[in-house]
Amino acid sequence: MAVMTYAAAAASALNDAMRADPAIVALGEDLGRGGIFGQYAGLLAAFGPERVIDTPISEATIVGAAVGMALTGLKPVVEMRVIDFALCAMDEIVNQAAKNRFMFGGQGRVPAVIRMPIGVWTSSAAQHSQSLESWFAHVPGLVVLAPATPQDNHALLKAAIACGDPVAYFEHKELWPLQGEVDADQRTEIGKAAIRRVGSDITIVSWSKAVHWSLEAAEALAAEGIQAEMIDLRTIWPWDRDAVFASAAKTGHVLIAHEAVQAAGFGAEIAATLAEAGNAKLARLGAKRAPVGYAPNLEAAVRVTPAVIAAKARALLGR
């Protein structure tokens, strides 16, 4: 156990992983000097410039090249610096990395971790403050992670690299300096939420920096005699429905809090899922979370059709 920052935890996890597996490489701008936030500190010295790759300012090619590396036996960890710049590489993330395995019928795998720090960061204004995790939850093929603690940034980064899927990995810019204990051997499963506080009155579901605010809020509520249960989702996709539903059943009240814009944020997905389950009079229908296939039957299999709509309407009406 050691106390380290959220940034140092990431560097340490990557160090461990790279030491264990020579297929892992890291690429992005300014990595050689340890990254602007120290999240790659020491790695160049440890692994050399072929594995800790300083790249040109070419976001599209950073991700595109990572796809090519991943398809040919490497496991790239890709640095985008802030999610806002990843917007320069959305074709590569969404059309190439996420869909590759499916489009090519399983011939290719893209075990790439794309790090896209989210969040507000001291007056860095509109182009450096976004939180777009819900976009990636909407894209079949991607795993979506958002650690809130040094321990999780250590364990989830390792899990992300190991999982074999392309991962949208969201660190938070205001969490870089956060200190915490890190057990390097602790494993955190993708898809499992953490209950950060046990309570009986209300469930607060959150992730990333908002976890800390939620815990602060929970303390304030506790002083008033309200016991909040606080669930840190950690994995946005596949999210831990069991944990959320179990807590909701216990407390009877659910508040979802995230830093991203509320409208069409991932909180909507959670709320809608809870609402549909708890309320027989509301339902959604959309395509399955699968890329659209080419063969007519595969294309049809994921679509919403008049028959499906009618069936769902009947079910809602209990007929």
């Binding site: 040109p56 090519g68 296939g293 080419y294």
Partner: protein, 344 residues
């Protein structure tokens, strides 16, 4: 460089590959009529090949000439117009036809179709539905070869095919710079068919074209008559030999022509018919056949090469036609490992 320099047996092999590509494209074209709604055409339900189908008819000399110098350990990325590249890289013709028919037995199990043809078993890492998107992927494959040098094939290379229109997308320039900065074993091949969908590329492209842009980024670049398969082959051979020796990336600009519309259902009504007529005079297959005859092969022999190709393709069409559709369940497999089964 031109055809005259290459040995007869090599030219014969190149011609055979070109014939296979031509025969494939001709058959796919027929099978695709009514397959997609665009260019004022309606989609019917009878087409065997559905969706946008981009034919490389007339451009066969480029993949044939370049890929003659590639090995299975070399990687390739391609474009929406990738049948020729795929075949020339050594992929199974029937596997590709089955994929175009959307069958379970196709390369991608019917998930991809023409725009997502791939045969990883021969190093063909994929066609692409997004213009220029294959280029950075090839950059990564080339960098991977360097990084994994100890893993077996240190002199392997990557090659990326792209069109003349693609050179105006940012990832092309980014990739030129990147490949040169890291001195990667990568051959860029600009297959210049003079058209970008319904637009003449010339007016949209400033400067001296792909080769000049490559040179400005520090790459070696050659321009070649892309209908002269011997010239393509000889030029590619020299460039590839240097790349294998670690001399860094290079670009081959091959001038050719798109005989068909942008997609198979496009009648190309926007195009001056004279332009096509003139281009047909330089049909790369006709030129190669003529040369073979000059070199002493008799006409019947030459014809038999094409005949064999057409028979191979006909068999592929027949077997594709008879093959099974993918299970519906295939719509939900090979997406991702974590969270597999969570669709909603």
């Amino acid at each position: 460089m031109s055809q005259s320099n290459i040995p007869l047996s090599h030219l014969r092999a190149l011609y055979a590959m070109m014939c296979r590509i031509r025969a494939f494209e001709d058959a796919a074209e027929i099978a695709s009529k009514g397959g997609v709604a665009a260019f004022g055409q309606a989609a019917g339900s009878t087409a065997h090949v559905r969706g946008p189908l981009h034919l490389s008819t007339g451009q066969e000399a480029v993949p044939a000439g370049v890929c003659a110098h590639l090995r299975p350990a070399d990687y390739m990325t391609s474009t929406h117009r990738g049948h020729g590249h795929t075949l020339a890289k050594g992929a199974d013709l029937a596997g590709m036809m089955h994929e175009l028919f959307g069958k379970a037995t196709g390369f991608c199990g019917g998930r991809g179709g023409s725009m997502h043809i791939a045969d990883f078993s021969v190093g063909m890492l994929g066609a692409n539905g997004v213009v220029a998107a294959g280029i950075p992927i090839a950059v990564g494959a080339a960098q991977s070869i360097k990084i994994r040098a100890s893993h077996g094939n240190p002199d392997a290379i990557a090659v990326t095919f792209f069109g003349d229109g693609a050179i105006n997308r940012g990832p092309f320039a980014e990739s030129l710079n990147w490949a040169a900065a890291f001195k990667l074993p990568l051959l860029f091949v600009c297959e210049d068919n003079q058209w970008s969908a319904t637009t003449k590329t010339g007016a949209m492209s400033a400067g001296e074209g792909a080769a000049a842009r490559a040179r400005a980024h520090g790459l070696v670049a050659e321009t070649v008559d892309g209908n002269d398969v011997g010239a393509v082959s000889e030029t590619a051979r020299a460039l590839i030999a240097d790349i294998r020796q670690g001399k860094g990336p290079a670009l081959l600009h091959a001038r050719t022509y798109r005989f068909k519309g942008h997609v198979s259902v496009d009648p190309a009504a926007y195009r001056d018919p004279k332009e096509l007529e003139a281009a047909l005079e330089h049909d790369p297959l006709v030129l190669a056949a003529r040369k073979l005859i000059q070199l002493g092969i008799n006409v019947a022999d030459v014809d038999s090469i094409m005949q064999a190709a057409r028979e191979e393709v006909a068999a592929a069409v027949a077997s594709a036609d008879g093959a099974a559709w993918p299970d519906d369940a295939a719509a939900f497999t090979e997406i991702q490992s974590m969270g597999a089964g969570q669709w909603l």
